[in-house]
Assembly symmetry: C2
Homo-oligomer: 321 residues x 2
């Protein structure tokens, strides 16, 4: 029996965003040996993009990884786990269905697995972060949009077609706020994303001329400025987060009654608002749960450094059984 | 290598309801060799109940099963898969937490697995019914209450504590109809159960004095009589089911965006209303889905005989890996 030195096995993790793509070489312990980035939106074809990735990354592999890489993990919007494709991603420059994993494997001569960015984040938390040792948890990413990754019995839920876990698009208020992109009415994302919070803040400050929020120009109203005002005890800013937390908590209660997780992990820029959102979220989650689920589910913040979490999550795809 | 004649292996399936308990000896093919029932509510202790079960069933085992039984599967309200317990079941005569699986194993000298009735129904459909060959589906039971069983990647989702899959208690209309038992506001069960349909029908007939539904006494208003009126083209009765179907469909859309199932199976007395409920359910499910999920999920009725489904489902626990 040979013993493998796990610290020497390295995965390439890549996180593709609409504007930027980040990558890193990561070992089993979640240490990033080296990392870098390139602008996603400057490559008109996926082939040109893969060429550019290879040109930047291959020298780093040669330098840092004695035996090459174990595999490639990619987190990308609308990525399909089963097919290794990126499908109809609205925020990426490449249209249609792209066989991205095949392109990567051909170029890097290494197996490539893909999933959407929130699923990758959930894997990253399970392997390196706050969900270590957990077999049942839900990851909610609260950023520009609201994403999710669901782990049940130790496995990520991919669903029949590889697209499971779009909790940001579940409806929390039928007939409610229209989503700026999907057109659906009353989705979680319409309220609990950074975009949704800005909309709520603009509405509420219009109703209360005395609010500190009125000291900012329209374009400066975002979850950061609302947080600043809330810290200064502006009651309208506090109410913006309370309302957001309520909608989030109501949605979380439904999620808990679906898969009964040990914990819900929150991640992303919005969680900087801390207890302003967390407390009402917890309250309204508990209030909407059946008694058998109450006071059981931990609501916690991610432990991963936000700058590296996406790379770590993508690399975790390589180690996934 | 010895070949086992699977048709000779027999499981004991037991379905515990608030009033009646049904049981059957079932082989791998889903054939019920013999079955019977006894009144749940006439035994003041679980021990007395298990004694009575044994007294009735052991002679049947001796008669029908050469080598004894392979195991016992029990479907019961508030049954916990991990602990083999029935916990705080509001509709059963026995209070507190009951170590039911241990009692059964001690009495029958055979391993016993338990889960709630809707989870058992989902297993039954996967093994013997409309979900054969499926790895990702959701079972919704529409009876007096609304139950659910969720299968993902070929496994039933039990969750961290064994209580996952209470989709009937997810909120479809925040601040909506108060549930007669849980007190929650706007749950799926408050609208889509037989109880919920009767409430909707009573409200709607009060608004429309011309409706055929007003020809029945209060206590005769139920999903069966509403169905009779709908078949006679009473527009109010049709609207009762359309409204129910809408609420169901909106809930189903949320479930699909959670686990992306291949199909949703509907089961229980309410589905006798057929297209009166199914068509609006399908319409509102599709309408609330993200484009990537549309026109993919089949909405189908159970294939199992309602009288036997609970026994078959419970017995399927024994064959579950």
């Amino acid at each position: 029996m040979s013993v493998v030195d796990l610290s020497k096995e390295v995965a390439l993790g890549i996180d593709i965003g609409g504007t930027n793509t980040k990558f890193g070489l990561v070992n089993h312990r979640g240490q990033i040996l080296t990392k870098g980035s390139l602008p996603t939106d400057q490559y008109s074809t996926p082939e040109a993009f893969v060429d550019a990735l290879h040109e930047q990354i291959q020298p780093l592999i040669d330098e840092h990884c004695e035996g090459g890489i174990e595999g490639i993990g990619v987190g990308a919007p609308n990525a399909n786990y089963y097919r290794g494709t990126i499908e109809l991603a609205p925020n990426l420059p490449w249209k249609g269905i792209i066989n991205f994993a095949d392109l990567m494997t051909a170029k890097f001569n290494s197996p490539c697995k893909m999933t959407n960015d929130a699923n990758a984040a959930a894997l990253g938390e399970m392997m390196y972060g706050a969900a270590r040792g957990m077999k049942d948890f839900i990851m909610i990413t609260l950023g520009t949009g609201v994403g999710s990754g669901i782990v049940s019995g130790g496995n990520l839920i991919y669903g029949h077609d590889g697209f499971a876990g779009e909790l940001g698009h579940t409806i929390v208020k039928p007939g409610g706020r229209k989503h700026w992109s999907t057109g659906s009415e009353g989705s979680l994302e319409a309220y609990a994303s950074a975009t949704g919070i800005a909309i709520t803040a603009k509405k509420m400050r219009a109703e209360f001329p005395d609010s500190m929020l009125n000291q900012y120009p329209e374009e400066a109203i975002n979850s950061k400025t609302v947080h600043e005002c809330a810290l200064k005890e502006d009651p309208v800013a506090v109410e913006v987060f309370r309302y957001t937390g309520q909608k989030l908590g109501e949605a979380l209660a439904n999620f808990v009654m679906f898969s009964s997780p040990e914990a819900i992990l929150l991640f992303g820029g919005v969680i900087k608002a801390g207890d302003f959102i967390l407390k009402p979220a917890k309250l309204h989650m508990e209030r909407n749960l059946l008694p058998i689920f109450r006071s059981k589910v931990r609501l916690v913040f991610s432990e991963l450094d936000e700058a590296d979490a996406a790379i770590l999550g993508a690399s975790a795809l390589v180690w996934e059984k």
